[in-house]
């Protein structure tokens, strides 16, 4: 018979096969093996972790650390399934502080490779090695030459599971995945040295960062100098939650979400809830097709996070998801809005070949050849004292401490955006400041100024809500209707009046006066649909976000249009407004509103070398 399956009796699978199937969940490619092994090294207190790959890790992976090592008698246990030194009870599982906790990784790797584990603790005169292959650890450790620490060598990954092996990409691609994984780990642990080589070629080599400057060098090595030049460091703590790290300016957006590093208690995670919080925080300043860049570490009581939800440990679950969302969103939102024009630290624009080609074509951001120039004296045409031009490092220092510069240290204030000198083609304002020329897109800038004003007005005046002639019936799943009912007060504050009229039915009676009522029904569905699966009320904020989008449109319509002739005093007034406005660097669609052209760049155009 066609397509039928040969019927056999039900049988318990052999242990080896079970292990191989399970292992597939933990280690699906060389990068996952490296991640597990490096996490073990970090859990063992390593200061230096060295990773060597051959043929993308498919032929050989070696991970060597200088951590505390494994005593001889525990070596067999380390390879055994469900054997771990990191937790001992359910209680421990509920407050995991280490990266590993399942006692699964080594056993999984062993199940699909030829593995040898060498280790030496501080008290042993020499090291011991235990070799294994395809899940069968050789019985007795043998003496081995080994410095204090552990080395795990993984040969012929997936040799026993050819089906899996077929899914591997080229060695180059696998090596890149390993590199990405290691970069993530390196970002999470600036205090540890990491090295990676592939077929003898060095891919990554970073030293532990003792101070902030070294930390920045590491960041530049891992994420690129451009990221560093366009990011600000911030940290804050509130009610047991701590967030620290770099957020990129909205103008440094990406076509892919490839510069988004978020750790929760040192563990790199990809979390939908946190991702959504960060997207919302940037939403006002970013085009919807672009992605923000950030390197952030969230720290909280381990007991408030469940790490045991994903085979590769890349997802977590929060006990108080809504609070974590609000914390993250609130902080990043505020940090972005606290940004004020800082010409040193903004879209510099380069002319000619001097600019390094940007790695990825960026429609909005401009090549940044000039922004992070360290210690360069300010323009020669202006008599600004050299001390008033803070270096990048100095600036970072100030922001790191999260305190404003002492008032005495600021020189008689020059306005960051300088003074208008002319209007160009009815589109741009030209202004001069100490560093050179400022070019402002007047429509985009005015649009942002208005938009922020409208939003402030909305926030201050409350959200008026227009009653509907006939209530609109919305059918939706029962849990969502339930959510709407319990949170009706929050919805009302955002202008939405809903009544539950049945198990899975809501009646919308009034909608925010700013929104067309039919749009609200979709919005409500969306908001409730999302909020119930993450158990958070935070997404109700999207009702407000939707009103902001309407305000953004109004701002766009109301902003001055091209060819409007402006007097110098009008232009200066706009520049001053911009300096006071949150997110003034971007229009509502994420395009920059102004750029700085350095005098040095102009010099270069005219071959006026120094």
């Amino acid at each position: 018979m066609l397509g039928s399956v040969k019927m056999t009796t039900i049988k318990q699978l052999p242990e080896v096969l079970i292990n191989q199937i399970k292992a597939g969940e933990v280690v699906e490619r060389p990068a996952a093996v490296v991640k597990e092994l490096v996490e073990n090294a970090l859990d063992a207190g390593a200061r230096r972790v060295v990773v060597e790959l051959e043929q993308g890790g498919l032929r050989r992976i070696l991970v060597r650390d200088d951590g505390r090592g494994i005593p001889r008698e525990e070596l067999p246990l380390a390879l055994a399934r469900h054997a771990t030194s990191k937790i001992a009870s359910l209680d421990d599982l509920e407050r995991v502080a280490s990266l590993g906790f399942r006692g699964e990784a080594l056993a999984s790797i062993l199940a699909v490779s030829r593995l040898s584990l060498s280790s030496r603790t501080a008290v042993e005169p020499h090291g011991w090695r235990l070799g294994g292959e395809g899940g069968l650890a050789s019985a007795e450790p043998v003496p081995a030459a080994q410095a204090q620490g552990t080395a795990v060598e993984v040969l012929d990954l997936f040799f026993s599971t050819p089906a899996r092996r077929k899914f591997m990409k080229s060695p180059g691609t696998e090596a890149r995945h390993v590199e990405t994984a290691l970069r993530r780990l390196a970002l999470a642990r600036p205090d540890v040295a990491f090295a990676l080589s592939h077929d003898g070629r060095r891919l990554l080599d970073v030293e532990p960062a003792e101070d902030a400057a070294a930390n920045e060098r590491r960041l530049a090595a891992v994420c690129g100098a451009e990221f560093l030049a366009n990011a600000i460091y911030r940290e804050a703590e509130l009610g047991g939650l701590r967030l620290a790290g770099w957020i990129a300016l909205p103008s440094f957006s990406r076509a892919q979400p490839d510069l988004q590093f978020l750790t929760v208690n040192g563990r790199g995670v990809r979390d939908r809830l946190l991702g959504a919080a960060l997207r919302r925080a940037y939403a006002d300043a970013l085009h919807s097709t672009r992605h923000p860049a950030f390197v952030l570490a969230l720290t909280l009581d381990p007991a408030a996070v469940d790490v045991n939800v994903h085979p590769q440990k890349t997802e977590v679950r929060f006990r108080e998801a809504a609070r974590v969302h609000d914390f993250l969103f609130g902080l990043v939102h505020r940090w972005l809005r606290e940004l004020r024009p800082e010409p040193e630290h903004h879209h510099g624009v380069g002319f000619g070949s001097a600019a390094e080609p940007a790695r990825e074509p960026q429609p909005y951001a401009l090549p940044l050849s000039t922004a992070p120039r360290l210690g360069e004296p300010p323009g020669r045409y202006f008599a600004a004292p050299a001390a008033s031009a803070p270096t990048w490092a100095g600036l970072a220092e100030v922001s790191r401490a999260a305190v404003p510069a002492p008032p005495g240290a600021t020189s008689p204030v020059e306005h960051p955006l300088g003074y208008a000198v002319a209007q160009l083609h009815g589109i741009f304002i030209l202004a001069q400041n100490a560093r050179g020329l400022i070019v402002v897109d007047m429509h985009a800038a005015h649009e942002r100024v208005l938009y922020e004003r409208y939003k402030r007005e909305l926030a201050e005046g409350g959200v008026p809500s227009q009653a509907l002639l006939a209530p609109v019936l919305v059918n939706l799943p029962e849990d969502e209707a339930e959510a709407a009912e319990t949170q009706s007060a929050t919805l009302l504050a955002a202008g939405l009046q809903v009544d539950r009229s049945g198990p899975g039915q809501l009646l919308v009676r009034a909608t925010p006066a700013l929104l067309p009522s039919e749009a609200v029904v979709d919005l409500l569905r969306q908001v409730l649909g999302r909020s119930s699966d993450s158990g958070s009320h935070a997404h109700l904020g999207e009702v407000l976000d939707a009103q902001h989008r309407v305000l953004a449109e109004m701002a766009c319509k109301a902003a001055i249009k091209a060819n409007r002739v402006m007097s110098l005093s009008e232009m200066n007034a706009l520049l001053r407004d911009m300096e006071q406005t949150e997110l003034a660097g971007q229009c509502n669609h994420g395009r920059p509103t102004w750029v700085q052209v350095e005098l040095a760049e102009l010099d270069r155009l005219f071959l006026r070398g120094r």
Partner: protein, 368 residues
């Protein structure tokens, strides 16, 4: 085709129909007008596929024929010619129409008249005849409340509800509703509801004069046709179910305000100056014999107006979109008006004071 006539007459004919020509067209022929010289008349027709307008004007017909020519350009040319000038249209060669007047010559590109779409050929199931004045009044009293580009497409028009004894016009945008009724022996046996698209309503309002001449509405096959002397308007009807307006109109309310329409209207429009320009919210405080109107804008500028009214019922406070109130008051004709209210969360009902209350305006409150 070759015709000749005075500029003013030709301009008038074009002016009548040019409004339906959409400025942005994907179908090129729709930016043209259809012109046909037959007998002693020139027929001018324009359409946007939803509505069609055809007007005929007597001309000197030198050679019968038909063609389509760019509507706006022809209109602008005629407008630019001097008042009493004589103008001729002539098909000079294939694809070209020559417009001549005195020393001016214009050659316009034409498209074949056969391709010009037509809505005509209506099968009238129902015919209702009423005066210009009555139809115009129905439209004027409710059309302001029509929705505009709402996804609930059936709101982007005006409902005509035709019963045996009356005709009602109703319009709503979901926040307010306007209804006007005209007593008329319509001859229909069963109630009939049709929705006229917004554009047809606005064109009708423009073209109806306030006189006692009669117009006939022919309805059938999803279309309506209105014949006004030498002008024929044909429009598709909106195919949808209009909301049950009768349920929305409250019948008895426990507070009743009687006010002078012009006084309250003027006070509201002054206060509106300092309302929030985005929401247009206005607060009404009803006290015995007094209506206090308050507005405030984000700059914290404030307006307060007090108007004498007669209040029957308990004092209360309620918020409205001031535009909705002004629209309703503007649509009324009488010296006094009535506002009935139940509570701050319930709808308000406005109508003209007097025995004959033909029009009703429902306005939903705004929580400020």
């Amino acid at each position: 085709m070759h015709i000749r006539h005075v500029r003013n007459e030709l301009l008038g004919a074009l002016q009548t129909v040019v409004g339906v020509v959409e400025r942005r067209q994907t179908l090129p022929i729709l930016s043209n007008v259809f012109l046909e010289a037959r007998d002693a008349e020139l027929v001018v027709r324009a359409t946007d596929l939803e509505i069609e307008m055809e007007v005929s004007t007597p001309v000197q017909n030198l050679k019968p024929g038909k063609v389509t020519a760019p509507a706006r350009k022809l209109y602008d040319i005629l407008r630019g010619l001097s008042e009493g000038a004589e103008v001729s249209f002539e098909i000079a060669e294939e694809g070209r129409m020559l417009v001549r007047s005195g020393k001016s010559r214009f050659t316009l590109a034409t498209l074949g008249a056969e391709e010009f779409p037509s809505l005509a050929g209506i099968q009238a199931d129902t015919q209702v005849t009423l005066t210009h004045k009555a139809l115009r009044s129905l439209i004027e009293r409710v059309s302001f409340a029509m929705a505009q580009q709402d996804v609930r497409y059936y709101l982007n028009g005006m409902l005509l509800h035709i019963g045996p004894q009356w005709v009602r016009a109703v319009a709503t945008d979901g926040h307010r509703l306007a209804m006007s009724e005209l007593a008329l022996e319509t001859g229909v046996k069963e109630d009939l509801q049709i929705i006229l698209p917004r554009k047809a309503v606005l064109e009708l309002a423009r073209l109806l004069d306030g006189g006692d001449a009669e117009v006939t509405l022919s309805i059938g096959g999803g279309q309506i046709q209105v014949q006004l002397l030498n002008l024929r308007i044909t429009s598709k009807l909106i195919d949808g179910r209009f909301p049950d307006y009768e349920r929305v109109i409250p019948d008895s309310q426990d507070r009743r305000v009687l006010g002078q329409r012009e006084k309250v209207r003027a006070a509201l429009s002054r206060a509106a100056i300092l309302s929030n320009e985005k929401f247009r919210g206005v607060r009404l405080q009803l006290e015995p014999d007094l209506l206090r109107i308050q507005t405030q804008n984000p700059e914290r500028e404030e307006a307060e107006e007090e108007v004498e009214v007669e209040l029957d019922g308990e004092p209360m406070e309620i918020g409205f979109n001031v535009t909705y109130l002004l629209d309703a008051l503007d649509a009324m004709k009488t010296e006094n008006f009535v506002l009935e209210l139940r509570g701050p969360d319930a709808s308000g009902l406005l109508f003209e004071a007097g025995e004959s209350t033909h029009s009703k305006y429902v306005v939903m409150p705004m929580r400020l």
